[in-house]
């Protein structure tokens, strides 16, 4: 697998630059919103990628609760962390897009609000991992991840209904999508998926090495313990 990493890195770089070129130059300018609509090609794929990463976190957490294998635990941690990064991108690009178009920084648009709540849930998940003093932190984190995932449909329906009662501007597709636009959108999504995969892979390796180092340090403390007696 070691060989695959550089290949993925190159593919990601190519896709990202191609996607950028397509989004900024090639894609047709939207009639009403003008060029600022091109934020759409970064905003929406980032959201999809974030949701996918949180789905991976849920699956990994359930696997960990059943099999208690360290791999699942590390994957859960990694997918949550990288998911939060993509979520942050959505929460930053969303308002930047809303400002010129509707003159407001924040709108309780369904996707934006859902992303905000998910961001809060998974940041609290990462906080639990950092503040926990128990030797069974992965178990508690996995349980919280399950709770977070159970919450998602409830969050979706509560915001959806809230929005039908209080309609607010919609960030997003805005009517039927011009096929060429859809094409650019998919390219960028593919680019972001590769980027997510690349970053997750790196973070995963990093976590494995970190745990090995911690293991070695505690063993060293062990030897020291016997040695100095």
């Amino acid at each position: 697998m070691k060989r695959g990493f550089p290949i993925l890195a190159i593919v990601t770089a190519l896709l990202l630059s191609f996607g950028l070129y397509e989004a900024l130059i090639v894609a047709p300018t939207e009639r009403t919103m003008g060029d600022v609509q091109r934020i759409f090609y970064y905003h929406v794929p980032s959201a999809w990628t974030a949701f996918l990463l949180f789905l991976i976190n849920f699956v990994a957490s359930v696997t960990y609760l059943i099999r208690r294998n360290a791999k699942a635990d590390i994957l859960a941690l990694v997918s949550a962390e990288v998911g939060v990064v993509f979520c942050t991108v959505v929460l930053v690009t969303g308002p930047i897009w809303a400002r010129p178009v509707w003159g407001i920084w924040w709108t309780w648009d369904l996707r934006l609000t859902l992303t905000l709540v998910l961001w809060l849930i998974y940041v609290s998940y990462l906080m639990l991992r950092r503040f926990s003093t128990s030797s069974q932190t992965p178990v508690m984190a996995a349980v919280l991840a399950v709770f977070g995932a159970l919450d998602v449909p409830l969050v979706y329906f509560s915001i959806w209904f809230f929005r039908t009662q209080h309609p607010s501007p919609v960030i997003g597709d805005g009517g039927s999508l011009d096929p060429r636009m859809a094409h650019v959108l998919l390219i960028n999504w593919a680019a972001f998926l590769c980027l997510a995969w690349l970053v997750c892979w790196t973070r995963y390796r990093l976590e494995v090495v970190q745990r090995e180092v911690e293991e070695a340090q505690s063993l060293e403390a062990l030897l020291e313990g016997d040695g100095s007696r």
Binding site: F131, V139, F147, V155, F157, I159
Partner: protein, 224 residues
Amino acid sequence: MSFLAVTRATLAKDLRLEWRSKDAINAMLFFSLLVVVIFSFAFDPTAEESRRIAGGLIWVAFLFAAVVALNQTWARELRNHVLDAYRVSPAPADPLFLAKAVGNFIFVIVLEALMAPLFIIFYKLRPLGPAWELLPIAVLGTWALVVNGTFFAALSIRTKNREIMLPLLLFPISLPALLGMVNATTAVLTGEESAKFWIALLLAYDVVFTIACLLLFETILEAE
């Protein structure tokens, strides 16, 4: 040690202890009173639009009181490591959770019973919609906060700063329930919309998380 017998015994024990040392409930009642007064100062009760946001005010006030109460859930068990005595016994974990959750529920409902009339008086509230709906909203909403609150209080026992950890875990996950409670109450107070959807949402929330808590409580109790 049947499930029900242990639940009843644990709940009876908690209520007896609460009744015996009433200092906890008195402190909490006074705290809730303070919260209501502060809200009344912060949001001008005489203004017409206060009626529109009263639903939100009431539930945020209840949330404050609930979190402070929930932080005490396991205090007594931790003082003399009594939780270890429970874990060493053959009694299953779920009755302990259920008894603690129901105990909290009663505790928070008592606080709400004090706060609600004060809000009605201060804000001169008169529900325009079907007033009887406020009962299921209060019950389902409080249970939504308490069931997850009791669970996350147990989860945050083994974290560094325990008091702050509970709200950090509880609030994000409770957002749909909060949206439900606030909008349902506002719908009833203003009478402009129907609260049916929100009550259904609260019911779904309660069912989902009560089951999740019962299934996963033992896992975190045993997590040393």
